[in-house]
């Protein structure tokens, strides 16, 4: 089945009222399952993300949000179902996995910067070894993105010398150096001290304004309200509901979403 016919077939998908015709969606998941032993982390998940769309995935802990976005770049292997990223099928074949990973950037809760490399070295490693850039080109590129996340002056420092917020911004810059089409954020502010959350969210907002396709697992509902085109609410491995933020926060359809929102919005 072609991507185009898939697109035209489903108009009522999420908040975007108009189906984006003739465009391959950034992400398409169909009946995706993921099990850890007896535990079902993803239970028949369907999701479609249009290019340029900003999705916030939320839900109680253990609901499968992280697993969902970790399946998109195959850091987690899905067990059943179909996942297409920019039209490339994630079928566990090496070349397809590599192609998808080159199209996606990921930011982790625990930053996962390489601690034995300077900030600059963290940023140029992939451009040099994967994209085959020269060191000078890669450094220019890295400085461009480090400037964008507002820490060009920290380029020669080691991650351990930076604050959590700075480290996470480096992680964003490092991912951007591979010029991804889709950015995946896995609770990017959950490990941060409260006063550092804002600088990371601001960086993400800037990225959103530039039209980056984003999937973000976060509990930052203010960010969701302001930036997201659509909220995807998960519970027990299922996508329970998806709606535009104003709709989702004003009248959540499911009982579970209502109790969830009661818990997290004080």
């Amino acid at each position: 089945m072609s991507e185009m016919s898939m697109n035209t077939a489903s108009g009522a998908d999420g908040a975007a009222a108009q189906p984006q015709l003739r465009e391959v969606p950034a992400v398409r998941m169909e009946a995706v399952y993921k099990h850890y032993g007896d535990f079902t982390a993803l239970n028949e998940v369907d999701l479609k993300v249009a290019r340029g769309e900003k999705i916030v995935v939320c839900g109680p802990s253990g609901s499968g949000k992280s697993t969902l976005i970790r399946c998109i770049n195959h850091i987690e292997k899905h067990d059943e179902g179909l996942i297409y990223v920019n039209g490339i099928e994630l079928d566990h074949q090496r070349k397809n996995i590599d192609a998808v990973r080159r199209d996606t950037g990921m930011v982790f809760q625990s930053f996962n910067l390489f601690p034995h490399m300077t900030v600059l070295e963290n940023c140029i490693l992939a451009p040099m070894t994967v994209s085959g850039m020269s060191e000078a080109e890669a450094k220019d590129l890295a400085m461009h993105f480090l400037t964008k996340v507002r820490i060009p002056d920290q380029a020669e420092k080691f991650p351990g010398q930076l604050s959590g917020g700075q480290q996470q911004r480096v992680a964003i810059a490092r991912a951007l150096c591979m010029r991804p089409k889709i950015m995946l954020f896995d609770e990017p502010t959950s490990a941060l001290d409260p006063e550092m959350v804002k600088e990371v969210l601001e960086t993400m907002k800037k990225l959103a304004e530039e039209g980056m396709t984003m999937l973000c697992v976060t509990h930052e509902m203010g960010f969701a309200r302001e930036v997201a085109d659509r909220i995807v609410f998960m519970n027990e491995g299922k996508v329970v509901e998806q709606a535009a933020p104003e709709e989702f926060f004003k009248n959540p359809k499911s009982e579970r979403a209502r109790t969830f929102l009661d818990q997290i919005i004080h």
Binding site: G59, S61, G62, S63, G64, K65, S66, T67, N73, H74, I75, D98, R101, R102, T104, G105, M106, F108, Q109, S110, F111, N112, L113, F114, P115, H116, M117, L125, A126, T129, V130, K157, F158, P159, G160, Q161, L162, S163, G164, Q167, R174, A175, M178, D186, E187, S190, A191, V217
Partner: protein, 243 residues
């Protein structure tokens, strides 16, 4: 009558015959470390493999060589194997024994080093689509190596002294040549004082080298301690964060 002649001890220390024994000791140690590291790395990779045959073999290897005395291993290789028609030169016997034995210890050190690198590091490498080789060479190995240096240092220190066991199979290293001098001149304390001094010098030099290595590979970590608060969640968060 009791006497100890410091002059004789000093003379033995500068004895050309003994010095050549020191060179053999150094050579045995260096060769055993290099051979042991290469073999140990292979054993460690097998141990971490999901293939039950490979990991089973590796487990058996480590169990066997760590569970038997090096002295028996050397004697079996030197005097026992010829019974089966397998014969090596004396020095080869010593090297085979030392390498086989050292590899078992180093394999465990290598394995623990790699296991201590958080899963998040590998995930970050995957997410950046780094190749498996680049991930190993640039991401996991340097971090694992830094963690391996202290136990590696201990193991090499032990190995340096364990080379003296090769004297039993007539390798003319420092210990054997001391014995030979002692039997010739009967100045027991004087000869062994010189040998002891050499062992102390060698282990001290190695200590200094190890400290340099730790300092070199720990430079990013030294930076980290200046900001413990900022980096504490990084070190431990690892895979635990799954929603």
């Amino acid at each position: 009558m009791s006497h100890f002649s410091p002059t004789a001890a000093v003379n033995y220390f500068f004895n050309y015959f003994l010095m050549k024994g020191v060179l053999v000791t150094i050579g045995l140690t260096v060769a055993a470390v290099i051979g042991g590291l290469i073999l140990g790395m292979g054993i460690a990779l097998m141990r971490m493999s999901s293939n039950p045959v490979l990991s089973g073999f590796s487990r058996f290897y480590i169990w066997f060589f760590r569970g038997t005395p090096l002295l028996i291993q050397l004697v079996v290789i030197y005097s026992g194997l010829p019974q089966l028609g397998i014969k090596f030169s004396v020095i080869t016997c010593a090297l085979v024994g030392l390498i086989l034995n050292e590899a078992a210890y180093l394999a465990e050190i290598v394995r623990s080093g790699f296991m201590a690198v958080s899963a998040g590091q590998r995930e970050a490498a995957w997410a950046l689509s780094l190749s498996p080789w680049v991930t190993f060479r640039r991401v996991t190995l340097p971090q694992a190596f830094r963690l391996m240096i202290p136990p590696l240092g201990n193991s090499i220190n032990s190995l340096l002294k364990a080379t003296s066991l090769a004297s039993v199979i007539s390798v003319e290293e420092l210990m054997r040549r001391s014995d030979m001098l002692m039997q010739e001149h009967f100045q027991i304390l004087e000869v062994y004082a010189a040998a002891t001094a050499y062992y102390l010098i060698l282990t001290s030099v190695w200590d200094a080298v190890q400290r340099r290595l730790e300092k070199h590979f720990g430079r990013s970590n030294a930076a980290k301690t200046r900001r413990v608060a900022a980096s504490a969640p990084v070190a431990q968060a690892g895979v635990g964060a799954r929603a």
